[in-house]
């Protein structure tokens, strides 16, 4: 778990494109394939990420892009490497109809904005440009429509602003 790369906190408003839209109960392990979930090697994971969905994914994703999910995103026993791989490509946030609690907790710890926005999965398609204000949980679809979700708690905002829970805890509790 220590090998995950260090990522800076996201900007206040994340501007990018929807890199992919997943369905309900999506098991994040499938992003890299179950046989690869124990690897933290970024280059190896890059060669596997999203191959089963879109072989061109790794080449077209740009920093600031987001992925979108349906209900219960991150269902299963989610492992960390798939999001390491996605973040390494520049994925800045996940917006979903709802999140599985274990996935939500684990990746929030890592500093990923995981924002619950009802209606998102049917409002966007791959390639759409969006602007996510992650503190307010609003998604501007650029065509006059703005979706409103559930803003993260004050504590979660602090975790994301710090670049992850470990950094926040070090600032709060380190005795050295």
């Amino acid at each position: 778990m220590s090998a995950a790369r260090d990522y800076p906190p996201p900007p206040d408003v994340i501007r990018g494109r929807v890199a992919w839209v997943f369905g309900d109960d999506f098991d994040i392990d499938l992003v890299i394939g179950v046989e690869n979930i124990k690897s933290y090697d970024a280059d190896f994971l890059r060669s596997k990420v999203m191959r089963a969905y879109d072989p061109g994914f790794a080449d077209r994703v740009q920093p600031g892009d987001v992925i979108v999910g349906g209900r219960n995103f991150g269902y299963g026993h989610p492992h960390y490497p798939p999001m390491v791989a996605l973040r390494d490509l520049g994925i800045a946030a996940v917006i979903a109809e709802s999140f599985s609690p274990g996935f939500w907790r684990g990746e929030t710890y890592n500093g990923v904005p995981l924002i619950t926005v009802p209606g998102i999965a049917t409002a966007v398609t791959t390639g759409d440009a969006i602007a996510l204000d992650w503190r307010a949980a609003t998604v501007d679809l650029g065509d006059g429509r703005v979706l409103h979700g559930t803003p993260p708690s004050a504590r979660v905002v602090r975790v994301i602003e710090a670049g992850g829970s470990l950094k926040l805890l070090l600032a709060e509790h380190a005795r050295t």
Binding site: M1, S2, N72, P101, G102, S153, L170, H173
Partner: protein
């Protein structure tokens, strides 16, 4: 409006008169539990020491560590992981329980899972503590927050109540119930909530069955599950308690998201298709009858307790495991192992051709005797995703101990009802 059990437990642990679902606040767990696993506990200990500069714990008695994984190969790598764990626990004065069985069971036997207690772990199956009226919450890496600060920020969960009546029919148990609940309400039917079990059916259910039911809570999206602590739970707790405890009961006018009723006598044997425990994968066992199996497994933190072994013995008594099938039975703890020997249950299982293994987590996550390509396994393990028990090209079906034992006899998926008729 009154309060749920979860709200009352978290209020006490937070030092507040009351809390409401939806509030975000720091809470002080009674116990902060982990098992040693590479990349988790070893890293967390190193972070505490090197990064946080923590040389001494304020309250070492609130930390508990189990060695229950990787006990079976005896190679250098696993010995190193265990030694690192022993060294760190000694350094910090943390109570370490090694090779006594699966921690989620041993924590109950050793008196940590007491009514009204709040327990956290990085592993979500700690929810099994709910059998005793305790609240167990799997917080993943946020365990580090509690380990370095003594508290953890939580959003107080809402609760869905399950009113249970009746009793399970022969050959049916709480594993069938949880898969029925998932089938009825979906894999996110209780998302971010606590499942509160109550009613005459809950009181009639054995402690073992309650532990198995609560331990599977995460597959409904719940963060935990809890039974109203009744006389059976309190009697168990009094026998093992290492501290005082404060049982919590819900108020009659507690605020629930939903209330669902289940008549346990109507629950049928369920089998879950390989892939995951989601609703669409749940089937009546009879629908899958005839699906061949080569491996059968009774064990795990959900289903290897004495009631499960009794169930297997009931089915296997006077019968034989089918040729070409290997049935492995792994008691959830050493104490369960001893009891099963004393009751003569293992004699029955061995006579039927079953193999009895030492208590550990190792079968359930594919470390011991991993499945090979193309194998079908019927399992009481907690998870049936691809690769969980070995090859990603093997198939794992989930069922109760009754169903696994019956399938082992038939050489194909079968319910205990079918076997008893044959």
């Amino acid at each position: 409006m009154g309060h749920t059990i979860a709200e009352k437990i978290l209020a006490r642990a937070a030092g507040r008169d009351s809390v409401r679902a939806g509030e975000s606040l720091p809470v002080r767990p009674d116990y902060m539990i982990a098992y040693d696993f590479p990349g988790y506990t070893d890293v967390m200990f190193r972070q505490m020491h090197d990064d946080f500069g923590i040389r001494e714990l304020d309250e070492p008695g609130r930390y508990v560590v189990f060695i229950d994984h990787m006990l079976t190969k005896g190679n250098d790598k696993e010995q190193q992981v265990h030694q690192v764990t022993r060294d760190w626990c000694e350094f910090y004065g943390i109570e370490l329980h090694e090779a006594r069985g699966i921690g989620h069971q041993v924590m109950a036997e050793l008196g940590y899972a007491l009514p009204g207690n709040f327990l956290i772990h990085f592993d979500g199956h700690i929810s099994g503590a709910g059998a005793f009226g305790a609240l167990g919450w799997g917080v993943r890496r946020d365990l580090l927050e509690a380990w370095v600060s003594g508290q953890i920020f939580l959003d107080v969960p809402a609760t869905t109540r399950f009113e249970l009546t009746g009793e399970f029919a022969p050959g049916v148990d709480s594993r069938d119930l949880v898969h029925q609940i998932i089938a009825d309400h979906g894999a996110d039917g209780c998302a971010h909530q606590v499942m509160e079990y109550a009613g005459p059916g809950a009181r009639a259910m054995s402690i073992d069955r309650r532990q198995g039911l609560c331990g599977m809570a995460m597959f409904t999206g719940a963060v935990s599950a809890v039974f109203e602590p009744d006389e059976a739970a309190l009697a168990y707790a009094r026998r093992v308690a290492r501290t005082g405890f404060t049982p919590q009961q819900p108020d009659a006018d507690a605020d629930y998201v939903a209330v669902h009723s289940y008549d346990l006598s109507q629950v049928r044997p369920r089998v879950v298709l390989p892939g995951s425990a989601r609703a669409a994968n749940t089937r009546d066992a009879a629908e899958l009858a005839g699906t061949p199996v080569t491996k059968a497994f009774i064990g795990s933190c959900a289903s290897g307790r004495i009631e499960d072994i009794r169930a297997a013995a009931l089915v296997l008594d006077g019968r034989q495991v089918a040729p070409g099938v290997e049935l492995n039975v792994v008691p959830t703890s050493e104490a369960v192992h001893r009891q099963a020997e004393e009751e003569g249950l293992f004699d029955v299982l061995r006579a039927a051709g079953a193999k009895i293994a030492r208590s550990s987590c190792d079968f359930c996550f594919g470390y011991q005797k991993p499945l090979q390509d193309g194998e079908n396994c019927i399992s009481t393990g907690v998870l049936n995703i691809s690769g969980r028990m070995g090859s990603t090209q093997a198939n794992i079906y989930l069922g109760s101990a009754f169903t696994v034992a019956a399938s082992a006899v038939a050489g194909a998926i079968s319910s205990a009802e079918e076997v008893s008729r044959s």
